[in-house]
Subunit: 200 residues, 2 copies
């Protein structure tokens, strides 16, 4: 089997969400595994001087138009949540806590959390909303609820963000294949070609 | 004939250059005219708070890798010039001065100037280099050389930048079709679909 695909994303990123609906099928066709890595764009932006799209002059208005159009283009259900963007510490911590017990469950949780936010409009910045999503997958809510405030779990997410930045990650979605970086869901055609040919 | 395609670009923009090699053929297939509009990203960035890609932490390194890869992906010849990015006032002023006499000639000049910079590595920030490019198309060099320092020609470019910003343009390339904005050469698949279906 060829090497894994590293998929970095923030749970508040519309383009990350669209990628999350596409990357596993793409990888499966290429016989590759996907490793999902939620990160916090706020931490990344401290390094890059970036800022959330919606607040930027001109670019913000464009983004609000481009998010749903890009989702339609990829046949992905999408509705910009009333509360957007949001802090995603709770969702990302839940992911890593689950991941260290069951990677496949964490992957299902990530998809469910993204859909709760970008399809149902659930504000997943609230720890209770994150617990609810996980409970829907059979996770014990009380245990997860405590874990979200656990210092070790917080440190786990912090380390994941630092590792991502060290790998050159500065946005969401961000894909690394065979050491080659691809930023944005609009790099899907290049990712497909890379997976077909090894390089181009 | 369907409405025109407005194509905004900075002569120092690699992605703008790749778009310039693609947009006319795309438009022709759709029976549309392309209106080329060089702008100065430096003027736009004063409004948006943006900055040139190459100097940004992490993003700059990525961009230098993504420029040639994106050009290869689109089968466009490309070499990152030694002097990059550059000021493009001279090239943009030459374009508008030519345009107001002969729009088709201005279009040919734009393509020649882009290729001089991104294929041959000619530093087109120098007025003389711009004059040389235009002379290659049969333009009188001395007359153009004087025009580049003419206050009316400077004002023409300034007005073009202001008009672009008022239309929501904040990057290069930027395409507007039927009032719908598309930012980046990576929006080519969406542009193609828009041209085929009218909307999506």
């Amino acid at each position: 089997m060829a090497g894994p695909i590293d998929f970095y994303f923030d749970f508040s990123s519309p383009y990350g969400y669209v990628m999350s609906e596409k990357i596993d099928a793409l990888a499966a066709r290429a016989g590759r595994e996907v490793r999902w890595h939620p990160i916090l764009l706020g931490v990344v932006y401290k390094v890059t001087g970036g800022a959330p799209l919606p607040g930027l002059p001109l670019k913000g208005d464009y983004a609000k138009r481009d998010f749903p159009r890009t989702a339609r283009f990829h046949d992905v259900s999408f509705k910009l949540p009333a509360n957007f963007p949001i802090a995603t510490q709770a969702a990302a911590r839940a992911f890593y806590w689950l991941h260290d017990q069951d990677a496949a469950l964490a992957r299902r949780f990530a998809q469910a959390a993204y859909r709760a936010y970008f399809i149902d409009g659930t504000d997943i910045s609230a720890p209770q909303a994150v617990v609810d999503v996980a409970q829907g997958l059979g996770v014990d809510g009380a245990t997860l609820g405590s874990a979200l405030a656990d210092e070790a779990v917080k440190a786990r997410l912090k380390a994941a963000c630092e590792t991502a930045i060290a790998a050159g990650v500065f946005g969401s979605p961000f894909i690394i294949i065979d050491g080659e970086p691809f930023w944005g869901v609009d790099r899907l055609p290049q990712i497909e070609r890379w997976l077909e040919r090894g390089s181009f």
